[in-house]
Point group: C2
DNA sequence: ACGTGGCATTGCAACGTTGCAAACTGGTGT
DNA sequence: ACACCAGTTTGCAACGTTGCAATGCCACGT
């Protein structure tokens, strides 16, 4: 049976309240008393009971991290940063997976209410900020990824449209003209995919390249398999694309695999750009050119938002931008290297 | 302010205790009363306060998952299974990262005591079962990975020695004779690495192949980079190895990348076998032959152990085996395809 | 000697829930 | 008519902590 405040108090010959003070506000306790209490704590191995503390204080110092799937490299890397940043604030992190299901997203968010989390970092798949805002009783929520309307929740994200345009421009600059967009999700209200498609179109329009809808490849999920399937479908077109802008690195890695199977050389025949800068893309052959969001910053900013929002529930929804950069690697090298078609 | 039992009780015109009964043991409440209470719960959006419940019951229905790093694909995939299996039991999962630091492992395990977790799934890096057992005040712990002594904690793992021997035998069967072991950790008490090395040696001995210590490559961590570094070091030997048994897929993927840089063909010049069966290894070029532990089963068995141990803290330490199989892919194909050296 | 102020310590109550055991209800058996 | 029983419902207390406000103590100034 673990020791409680009372056990420590008896041992140190002080009141329960004084022990509590030593634990929480040591500066108000006289040095002598403090030392005596600290030894008693040490001897008994006392640890505050978090349940009692949470009940009394009304805060648990626990936040929820709700993601589609923790085993997708992007979310795994993000989670690592979130856990580290949370720890720096003295918070612990509960992980929940929505498995990319809308109903489950709703259910988890509703459940969060009583689940003793002080706030939630939510990476939505199909829910929008509006919908989240309407669930009034829930604890503060910070959403990852852009959102169309500004509800009563914050959202923290890279400027997906700008980033996608940058990636596409990079491909255009190296002479590619038939650029596919892999990762479109027409049936879902997934704002991130929407923005990336918009950015892709911006860049095409800028360059005066026609936006060929046959090159928009929808996917169910964002796994390797979906990227591979997408590439195979593209290979069936009468004219092959000369580049793919994949909405995630995982899709790009899947497409890369399919290229190998199809006998297509990357980047010579097809250039690939991904998004997320996951570790695997740095070591693949060829390595993946990608849009790298500053994930550490993303996590830190999300927690900072949550922190403010926990202090003041009435805060209006905010829109926080996270820096990103294009990391040029082998799958879509810098323009100096023209595509094989131009070289011949 | 969220509704509590009292609010519901007032609304339904019953006592607090009856509402509690409806929530916890509906079968003892008369149907009429039950319906009235349920509507009140619905109307007020009542959710039990988990902190109060945990305080009163002495159980939080939260377990901790302590891993070196959640962003390593193996741990990410494992975590996904653990979270799903925990959810099926009505538990939530609290994630902590040790960053592969011994002191942090100890600190986190000690901290777990008061942290309101009912149990811990611990994937150790350098701590042994003996050490964990000695921390008496901690909640029940189930360790992932084999352990030398049987302390008072359970451990759930594949038979690493057997699995490693199988992987090595596969390489031997296809004619490889200079097989490197990548992932040795001599300075650490990492039992998993130890067992895999032992299995590798078993297979070599069996085949009458000398165990050349120059082919044991130590690594600091298990990242892609470490695998790539290992391969580069091996390439500096006077005689190149004709195969690598990498202790994790991530190391294998790193080695694969280094092979590309060194102009070595896989599997023609060098065959690769990994361990873990992470998703990325299924889509790399070439795909990675690997030892696949049944991760879903692993998670489920670990939780089952924890469950039993939570009911009976005095249970002796157990040793639970998880099934595994060798998945043959391109990086080390079946023996039918002899290595390039033999073919010439 | 006495009031004053600052510092250190304390007791009480409450957070929302559930274990326990008692109390109530209406119907049944004698 | 009365005791008894099963089926429902209830009140009280306690889990371990902390907010609040009050108390005790001591040295200082007048």
């Amino acid at each position: 049976m673990p020791a409680n405040l009372k056990d420590v108090a008896v041992r140190a010959g002080v009141s329960v309240r004084t022990v509590s003070n030593v634990v929480n506000t040591p500066e108000v306790v006289a040095a002598g008393t403090r030392d005596r209490v600290l030894s008693a704590i040490e001897e008994l191995g006392y640890r505050p009971n978090v349940a009692a503390r949470a009940l009394r204080r009304g805060r648990s110092e626990v936040i929820g991290l709700v993601v589609p799937e923790i085993d997708s490299p992007y979310f795994a890397e993000l989670a690592a940063h979130v856990v580290r940043a949370a720890e720096a604030r003295g918070w612990t992190v509960h992980i929940e997976q929505t498995d990319g299901s809308g109903p489950r997203e709703r259910q988890l968010l509703d459940g969060a209410r009583g689940q003793g989390v002080d706030g939630v970092i939510f990476s939505p798949w199909s829910m929008t900020a509006d919908e989240v805002s309407r669930r009034s009783a829930a604890p503060p929520v910070v959403m990852l990824g852009e959102q169309p309307g500004v509800g009563t929740v914050d959202h923290v994200a890279v400027d997906n449209r700008l980033a996608a345009a940058g990636a596409t421009r990079h491909l255009l600059a190296s002479g590619r003209r038939r650029i596919a967009a892999v990762g479109v999700q027409p049936h879902l209200r997934n704002e991130t995919a929407r923005q990336r498609l918009a950015g892709y179109r911006d860049a095409l329009a800028e360059a005066g390249v026609a936006d060929d809808e046959r090159l928009h490849v929808p996917v169910e999920r964002l796994h390797h398999q979906d990227g591979a399937d997408a590439m195979r479908r593209l290979a069936e077109l009468e004219a092959l694309p000369d580049a793919l802008f994949c909405f995630t690195d995982q899709l790009a890695l899947g497409a890369l695999r399919a290229c190998a199977d199809l006998g297509l050389r990357v980047p010579d025949d097809v250039a690939l750009v991904g998004f997320d800068d996951i570790e695997a893309g740095r070591y693949s052959v060829p390595s993946i050119t990608t849009v790298a969001p500053d994930k550490e910053r993303l996590a830190e900013l999300a927690l900072a938002c949550l922190d403010e929002r926990m202090r003041d529930h009435a805060l209006p929804g905010r829109d926080v931008a996270v820096p990103h950069r294009l990391v040029v690697r082998e799958s879509a090298p810098a323009p100096a290297t023209p595509p094989a078609s131009a070289a011949r």
